[in-house]
Structures are given as structure tokens and as C-alpha cells.
Amino acid sequence: MGTENVPSSIVQFAQLDKLLNLGRANSLWPMTFGLACCAIEMMCTGGSRFDISRFGAEVFRPSPRQSDVMIVAGTINKKLEMAVKTLYDQMPEPKWVIAMGNCAISGGPFKVKENYNVVEGADKLFPVDVYIPGCPPRPEALLEGIMTLEEKITGKRRWPRVHAG
């Protein structure tokens, strides 16, 4: 379950939490957080061909207060580090982070010995829930990432898993 490291609330429901998680998983509101090339693939996923709204995640909220998941799509560099951390803090619980693209996973093509300005991976700043490799990852990969996050939240996978080959 994705919310076990969230501090407990006064009132605890067992069954109601399952229902709440089902609702949360199927209406993830991502925060518009396009940094670089992966942002264009995120927009293509929002387009009508790959259609992220089939998973209820097409409402891209600009403000962190109204978003559930932060899709880090692009490179975080040292000048943006504090802004990214601030945005993460300003998001209300329960919140999740999808690291989209190699730059957000590990600095990607900029993880070289001359690297003086790129933060090598979003997980250096805050806990990341789903990693989507690719540079940029295809829109289908982003959809798979959202399905994986749904599985992490609700505990079961609603969509059939497609095995390559």
C-alpha cells in the first residue's frame, strides 16, 4: 500500500480506506511539472491518441495544493532543487512521485564526470514511488507507470499486464 509511511490520522477505517484508495488510484491528479523533453511526451499522453484520461489522470493541476501525484518529467538541476523540494512539501498527503525519464531516475545522459549542475535522480530529494525509464519514455510507458502506481495504491492490478514477446 502506498500510504503506509504516511503518519496515521485520528480516525482509522479498514474497509473505508480500501474504498478511498480505490477512488484515489483512479483519479490521480498530476501536477503540471514538465521540465524538459519528457514534458512533451507527457503532453502527447494527454493528447487524444494515448489519452491519459482513460485512467482518470488527465486533470493536470498547476498548483501543488490540488495535485496528488508529481510526475517529475525532466532534469532537476541545482538551481531548481529548492523549488522542487518546496513543491513536494506543498503537496497535501497522500502524495506520490513518478520519476519519468532517465534524468529524473539517475541524471540520465548528464551523469558524467564533468557534471557540475545536475541532481542525479529525483530520489535524492524525496521518496519516489514509480520509475519510468526512457529518454524520453514513450507515452505507453507513462501509462504503464500510472498503472503501476494504481497497483501500488490499491494492491491489485486492474489492467492485464502485457508481456513482451
Binding site: 541545482k78 564526470k113 549542475n117
Partner: protein, 167 residues
């Protein structure tokens, strides 16, 4: 008389008694030292028509000539010649429309105290380009309106594109 000769004559006024010499082409290493002056280059080979080498204090004069001739400042680049302990600031001028002519103006400054006068008064485009050259090479542009870093975080204390920089 097309624009290239006109510019070349206008620029040659700055360098008294400097014959227009052919630069010996060197296949290896940094360019050979040569005195200030205007050299004609063949455009298909190296992409610019005129190559002007001038002293740092003549940079503003060259910029004013370019301004009157109707050029625009395309970019300012810094080069770090480590072996010769020199920093080079390279201005690219080009023409917007009309007859095509690209001029490359270069100045060499010692690496220890790289100071070049600013041309942002003549070309406002230079404001950002000079801030970027200061950001990457540490070339100090005299009386620039606000010479602070443009791409790196303000509190960075290194100049990354210098050859001897390694994080």
C-alpha cells in the same frame, strides 16, 4: 561595392599600417599569434567572411562600426587557451536580411585578469551574452549594467567551462 569590402575598409581604419596578411594555417594546436588586423576568410570553408583580431580596448569601437554598418550581434563566445594562458572573447556579427556577410571579431586577454569593456550600450543583445561568458569563463566586462551569473546558481563560485575546471 558590396557590403564585405565596405565593412572591411571601415574596420581597417582601426588598425593603422597593418597589412592584410594571409594567416598560416596550422593543423594542430591553438592558432598562431598574429598582429591585430582584418583577414578575409573563404566563407564555404569556415563560415565567416571576415576575421578581425583586435585589442580589448578596441572592442567598443568595432561594435560601433558594426552598428553603423547595420550588422546585428549574433553571439559572444569565450575560449580558454590554457597553454598560452590566454582567454579569448569571440564576437559574431551577421546581417539581418539583405546581402549576406558574417564577421568574427576576436580579442585576447590574459587569463589572470580577463577584463573586456562591455558593448551592451551599443547592442543590448550583448547584455545576456556577456553575462553568460562571465558565468562560464569569469571574463569581467567593465561597466556592464548588472554583471551577475545568468545560467548557474547565483552562489556558484566556479567557472565551469575553463579547461582546468573539474567538479
Amino acid at each position: 561595392m558590396d557590403i564585405r569590402e565596405k565593412t572591411q575598409i571601415a574596420l581597417a581604419l582601426l588598425f593603422p599600417a597593418a597589412p592584410v596578411t594571409e594567416v598560416p594555417v596550422v593543423a594542430e594546436g591553438p592558432p598562431p599569434p598574429r598582429d591585430a588586423g582584418v583577414v578575409i576568410q573563404d566563407f564555404p570553408r569556415c563560415g565567416s567572411h571576415l576575421d578581425v583580431l583586435c585589442r580589448p580596448d578596441q572592442v567598443v569601437a568595432v561594435a560601433q562600426i558594426m552598428d553603423t554598418e547595420g550588422f546585428f550581434l549574433e553571439s559572444i563566445a569565450g575560449v580558454d587557451w590554457l597553454e598560452k594562458q590566454q582567454l579569448e572573447v569571440l564576437y559574431d556579427y551577421n546581417r539581418l536580411g539583405g546581402e549576406h556577410c558574417r564577421v568574427m571579431v576576436r580579442t585576447l586577454v590574459p587569463r589572470t585578469e580577463p577584463v573586456v569593456p562591455t558593448i551592451s550600450a551599443v547592442f543590448p543583445a550583448a547584455n545576456w551574452h556577456e553575462r553568460e561568458t562571465f558565468d562560464f569563463y569569469g571574463v569581467h566586462f567593465q561597466d556592464h549594467p548588472n554583471l551577475i551569473r545568468i545560467l548557474l546558481p547565483e552562489d556558484a563560485d566556479f567557472h565551469p567551462l575553463l579547461k582546468d575546471f573539474m567538479p
